[in-house]
């Protein structure tokens, strides 16, 4: 039991990383990782929403009629996003709020949040759902921050706005733009898949996707089967 709880917390970081394995939340991943600070800020905002929405949805799920569960989840998620938005406006550094800008309200339609609500929180206890939210949020934040560091370094030789190599050229703009982000995410995915593939060969077995990723366990597109 203890082992499985630990797994709920850590699976989001590597094994079921929302960006690199589930390939969810690509919009903020490409749009907001131009600098490490932005990536980290977006990751933290999403984590707060994830933890809150997972908790409330796991409590509501047993009493929610199946037919309207998705509107109910969206209302809960939207409420949390608006709360985070207001709190950021009030207490975050103005420069950070300015650059995250319109992407904060867009967390509502971030697939990670709805995906975890439907695939995990609606089927598990509140405690485990919160653990899952923390884990997934951590995985998202770490990936976004890492991408931000890579892109910021490639565009201007800086990390967290501290220039490490003074003479670094600022003429190479590709990594700073969305297409560059796409290419970098692709490279990371390739490396990650290669590592998994090697590990599977080493253990002399076929690579099997984790349970939660299997379409058979997800009900999002099966509205008809509710009865």
């Amino acid at each position: 039991m203890k082992n499985s709880m630990f797994k709920d917390l850590t699976k989001g970081i590597w094994q079921e990383n929302p960006v690199l394995v589930l390939l969810l939340g690509t919009c903020p991943t490409l749009a907001l990782t131009g600098s490490a600070v932005n990536g980290f800020g977006m990751g933290c905002a999403t984590t707060c929403v994830l933890i809150g929405s997972n908790l409330v949805i796991s409590i509501l799920a047993p009493v929610t009629p199946k037919k309207i569960r998705i509107p109910v989840y969206i209302v809960v998620i939207a409420a949390f996003v608006t709360v985070v938005d207001l709190l950021l406006q009030a207490y975050a550094p103005p420069a950070l709020y300015e650059s995250l800008g319109i992407f904060i309200p867009l967390i509502v339609v971030n697939c990670i949040v709805l995906g975890r609500a439907e695939a995990f929180a609606s089927k598990n206890s509140p405690f485990r759902s919160v653990l899952d939210g923390i884990g997934m949020g951590l995985g998202f934040t770490l990936t976004l921050t890492m991408l931000g560091i890579i892109r910021e370094f490639l565009t201007c030789g800086a990390v967290f706005e501290i220039k490490l190599i003074p003479g670094w050229t600022t003429d190479f703009l590709l990594p700073g733009a969305a297409p560059g982000a796409f290419i970098i995410v692709g490279c990371i995915l390739a490396v990650k898949n290669y590592m998994k593939y090697r590990a599977a060969i080493r253990n002399r077995r076929l690579y099997v996707p984790p349970q939660g990723l299997n379409c058979r366990n997800c009900g999002i597109c099966r509205i008809d089967g509710d009865k």
Partner: protein, 213 residues
Amino acid sequence: MKFRDRESMVVLGSFLGVTALVAASVLALVSIYTAEPISKAQENNRQKVFHRLLLPPFDSTAESIMVDGCTFTPVLNSGKLAGFVGQGNSRGGYGGEIEALVGFDLNGRITAVQILRHKETPGLGANVCDRKFQRTVFNLREAAPEVPENKFLDQYNFRDSRSAGSWRIAKDGGEFDYLTGATVTSRAVTELVDRISSVFAKSGLINAGEMKR
């Protein structure tokens, strides 16, 4: 009766309604509690930007005046007029709107230019608009200057607003430097500063201020 059915329209509707109601009341509460910090943060931000315009010392601002699409805010030092802050925006940017603040002293000269909002290309057009202190591993402990320099924005400093009206970048036959590769942004910024300055000069606000003095 149909109402007893868990799946009936009435049950579904009221469940969704109750959820939305609870969510709305939570939001209302949070909104009430954060209203004050938000307005305070926005006011602080505005004040901070005003202080970065290198205006003569001032302690308060008076009500803004709209002239020809530009907004001018008089700044006061213990009740006396100390200068003006002009605010205007341009749609000529490469990535969208650019909003600028221009500080004027009582002689009608520009004290400094700050870009309040822009969406220019990071690393290119943004370099024309942003005043950012470049931190490197060698100056980690140095305090950042309050107004970091930007050679494209600093070239307007100390210019007389009455000479505005025909300010152009060098590529268009003017005298202002522009950043190669970011001509559109440079042109938009120069034209915006030019417009705010000439509107300010023509509005006669300086003379009105002198009378008050």
